[in-house]
């Protein structure tokens, strides 16, 4: 075990996993919120675009998206983030993890918005609030409460799904696990360590989510 820590960049791999998770979570949140707003907007064209987005990205396997990005978009169409192979794979992983999970973030937010009684949206409009004011003042603050649980599930899934990036050669923990297993043979210890890393990353998120939804619930 100690030998492995010396011969392989374990900390670097963990750090890559954390980076993938954080950057993709930010990207997914930004894109997901925009798509959610499109899906509840009064403009039919935007609603249609939002719906298509969710249907496409939610129903395509992440592995397919990643392979398609590196092989299809990068090699064939020449859309590269970087000339360096590893860097390019890394950024495509962030992009695809963001786009994929944005569909789930969008649906989590939308289910939250649907928990707000429609009458409140009408009341907001009838005192003269614009669409964006109704959204920011009335709908989203309450939607967030209903969305906490599905959002937390999405972020946990996202953290675990970063392992798929190994498929396109990103050296995150899963990539490292693959490499070590190939070179040294399967070892229980290293599997256990990888599993622990994910427990350490995801567990606090679940605890935080539970306490947050409890805190938001009392305010009513």
């Amino acid at each position: 075990m100690g030998e492995l820590l010396k011969n392989y960049d374990v900390w670097g791999a963990i750090w890559t996993t954390i980076q993938l998770a954080v950057l993709s979570a930010i990207g997914a949140t930004v894109i997901g919120t925009i798509v959610a707003i499109m899906r509840v907007s009064p403009v039919a064209v935007l609603r249609g675009l939002g719906t298509s987005y969710v249907n496409i990205f939610r129903n395509t396997p992440l592995t397919v998206l990643l392979v398609m990005s590196v092989l299809g978009l990068a090699f064939i169409l020449g859309l590269s983030f970087s000339d360096d192979f590893a860097r390019n794979a890394y950024w495509w992983a962030v992009a695809m993890l963001s786009l994929y999970h944005a569909a789930f973030i969008c649906e989590a937010l939308r289910s939250g918005i649907n928990t707000v009684p429609a009458g409140q949206a009408e009341a907001a409009r009838s005192i003269g609030l614009t669409f964006s004011q109704s959204l920011s003042q009335v709908l989203l603050p309450q939607a967030f409460r209903g969305a906490v649980a599905p959002l937390v599930s999405t972020y946990i899934a996202l953290i675990k799904n970063t392992t798929v990036a190994a498929v396109i050669g990103v050296t995150d923990i899963a990539g490292l696990l693959q490499e070590i297993t190939e070179n040294e043979g399967a070892q229980l210890g290293i599997f256990f360590m990888v599993a622990m890393v994910f427990v350490v990353l995801t567990l606090p998120l679940g605890v935080f989510g539970t306490s947050l939804s409890r805190r938001l619930a009392v305010k009513r």
Binding site: P117, A124, I127, L129, T130
Partner: protein
């Protein structure tokens, strides 16, 4: 008759195959209080809600104070600010305090400074008798109190006209009067009001006109006294027969 504040001309609306509003022509004068009455499903709510475009309509026109209702966007929001609406189910913002419910519109739409908006809100809450509840959340209030807050929230925008869609039908009987009293006072002070209600006592006390709607059509219009004691149309006689036997 004072000059009309709300003018509906040949307004028609469908829900799919259902023709809910048929050639509605209605003028409401400044300071006038009009009661909309009619059987369930006759289109009272729909008519009320087209006036501030919570419902769209296909044909005809609606003007408020001489201005045509805009289709959407900022212009529509501005116009809605001038039309107060009070709902059957109160629809207070659950995550905001009573005071914040009343100040939200003035601060965000009218750009009134916060301190001034709060001062005015407290006056209005005082007027509807819930000032001591200002720091609470809607769920902590009784239905009658919530509805009075909803009225204060509308009043805070200084509306030109107020729409009430069955404001007392979700209330326990002992709370109905506290809300109707506030509405009678408003009427006496000269507020222009369109009220969907079956409360005849209120109609007699506060309204100048009753508009009877059946199957999406205006069937009859008269003063409350005349309508309730001597209805002309068979539809109205039939309808009044049903609500009076209860």
């Amino acid at each position: 008759m004072s000059e009309p504040l709300v003018v509906m001309k040949d307004v028609n609306k469908h829900y799919g195959d259902l023709h809910v509003l048929k050639d509605i022509n209605l003028e409401i004068g400044k300071g006038e209080v009009v009661i909309l009455i009619g059987p369930s499903g006759s289109g009272k709510s729909t008519l009320c809600r087209t006036i501030n475009r919570l419902e769209t309509f296909e044909a005809g026109s609606i003007t408020i104070d001489g201005k045509e209702l805009p289709q959407e966007g900022k212009a529509l929001a501005d116009l809605r600010a001038d039309v107060g609406m009070v709902f059957q189910s109160f629809n207070l913002f659950a995550h905001k305090t009573i005071l914040e419910n009343v100040t939200l519109g003035p601060i965000k739409v009218r750009k009134t400074p916060k301190a001034q908006a709060e001062k005015r809100a407290m006056e209005l809450l005082e007027r509807v008798g819930v000032a001591h509840q200002a720091a609470k959340y809607p769920a902590q209030l009784s239905g009658g109190q919530q509805q009075r807050v909803a009225i204060a929230r509308s009043l805070a925008m200084d509306p030109k006209v107020m729409l009430f869609d069955e404001p007392t039908s979700a209330l326990d009987p002992e709370m109905i009067n506290e809300v109707l009293d506030v509405m009678v006072t408003l009427a006496k002070e000269g507020m222009t009001m369109v009220v969907v209600t079956h409360e005849m006592g209120f109609a007699r006390k506060a309204a100048q006109r009753v508009v009877f709607l059946a199957d999406g059509q205006i069937v009859e219009q008269a003063t409350p006294e005349e309508f309730f004691t001597n209805p002309k149309s068979d539809r109205a006689k039939d309808f009044l027969g049903k609500i009076l036997t209860h």
